[in-house]
Symmetry: C2
Subunit: 280 residues, 2 copies
């Protein structure tokens, strides 16, 4: 038996790809994943984005909820979940199983052929267990390498890759890995094949000049502009690590970084919403 | 960052593939999955099987255990789990998440590049919700089609496919699907590209002449021999549906079907253990 349905979500005559990238790497976080209506609407938007694309999703509150149901105590240090063996099992089930597969099924329903992978699949992302002098983070992975050729082979078949925040160490152990970092490392690795746009979805409209005014979005930041904003202390301190990270990505093969609301995905890609961080 | 590790588990100069199949589709059930030591040893064997290969895994007892922990009542009719929405969530987490990803990570550790997929991934297996006059099986899928081209594209990259017993309906719904049937439908669909061997692992040494004697394995059964065994009532009644299924697979493009113990995987493929069911 053969599938005849011609599913294809990566046409080339794109209104977006011409504007700055053959490949969009889009990261969504818990605020979207935990809200069924928002997620469904986001996935419709994602499906309609033209060109090659990768979705990286975080975890959301489901893992914590399941841990509660199972009576597994969660430990947090500095806002990071300590991943003991039981927690690793839970995040593998929730992130790589429930969330990842439901996203893929919904994308298929929206006419977008997608494949859901962890870092272990096809050896997509190799990591090592985090080493830290004082804190034992448990089964938390820091990324060593991304298998750009595997990802390219799927994108070349017009399949969107949906990456779960789980990697592996190549020795049989799965590792819980930060989704922002996964998105960034994938974007960096794919730079050798594509002009990449890395989109971080976020609860605000973009980088704001006035943190209390959602209409004060700075549309474009380049290195000179960033230096000026910092020297005049016009950037909210909490944004500085994010922006430093974005500029680091730009220095490592990423074409542009966009920060904004997931709900405005297509406008973010078109440059009509959010903040675009560029080389110049 | 790029992966330099050259993982490849599908060499062509195989001691097995020459003996009857370019592609082995191997199904393992709960008896292996529930036993960590057996599973680990099986995966070592699977990794060392030469030639292109697909592993289809069942569910095991973990889903039932998790349902108990979560206080979700399980309903069975005729030995089949009724898959309500809560149960679908559990089997998606356990089969597509925990079991599938741990198998993939272990295969990677054994030097076998593998990718774990559900039917939703890459639209690998399209199914529909089972229709039944009197029983509502819930989210249980009967298979409509297998995407042989996707599977071939992965096998051609020397990646072993690890299929979880979850499919989708193309409308956004995941479906719980029998792993034996998945193995059979994949084997049938791949027949157009490969000479296929479909291996069902099983708790006995093979098809036995005397059900109480593990040494009474019938090494080969062809249609004439099967007719004779049936007419003389030498076949244990419980085996007849399995064998009827095997002959149906042979009529639909499968090269040979092998039934035996997962622990003897390489001997099964070499034809020195288990029962091989062939056209002639």
């Amino acid at each position: 038996m053969e599938v005849n349905k011609n599913i294809n979500c990566a046409n080339t005559n794109s209104p977006f790809s011409g504007q700055g990238g053959d490949l969009s790497i889009i990261k969504i976080g818990g605020n979207i994943i935990d809200d069924e209506t928002k997620l469904s609407s986001f996935l419709q938007n994602f499906a309609s984005v033209k060109g090659k694309k990768i979705l990286v999703h975080g975890g959301g509150k489901l893992a914590t909820k399941l841990a509660d149901q199972m009576g597994v105590q969660q430990q947090m240090i500095d806002g990071r979940r300590i991943t003991d063996a039981e927690t690793l099992k839970i995040v593998t089930m929730v992130y790589a199983g429930y969330i990842n597969k439901n996203i893929v099924a919904q994308l298929q329903a929206n006419g977008c052929n997608a494949i859901g992978l962890t870092g272990a699949d096809g050896n997509m992302i190799l990591a090592h267990k985090r080493k830290h002098v004082t804190i034992n983070y448990g089964f938390v992975g820091d990324i060593d390498s991304v298998n750009a050729d595997l990802i390219k082979s799927l994108l070349d078949q017009d399949i969107a890759v949906v990456a779960a925040p789980i990697t592996h160490d190549g020795q049989g152990t799965l590792l819980n890995t930060n989704a922002d970092t996964i998105a960034q490392e994938i974007a960096k690795a794919m730079g050798k094949y594509y002009t990449t746009a890395l989109i971080y979805s976020f609860e605000k409209n973009g980088v704001l000049l006035n943190v209390d005014d959602e209409n004060s979005v700075i549309p474009v930041i380049n290195p000179a502009g960033y230096a000026e904003l910092k020297s005049k202390q016009l950037i909210f301190a909490g944004m500085i690590p994010k922006l430093d990270n974005a500029f680091a990505a730009l220095s490592n093969g990423v074409g542009r970084v966009i920060i904004g609301k997931a709900e405005q995905l297509q406008q973010l890609l078109a440059g009509t919403a959010g903040t675009t961080i560029k080389h110049e």
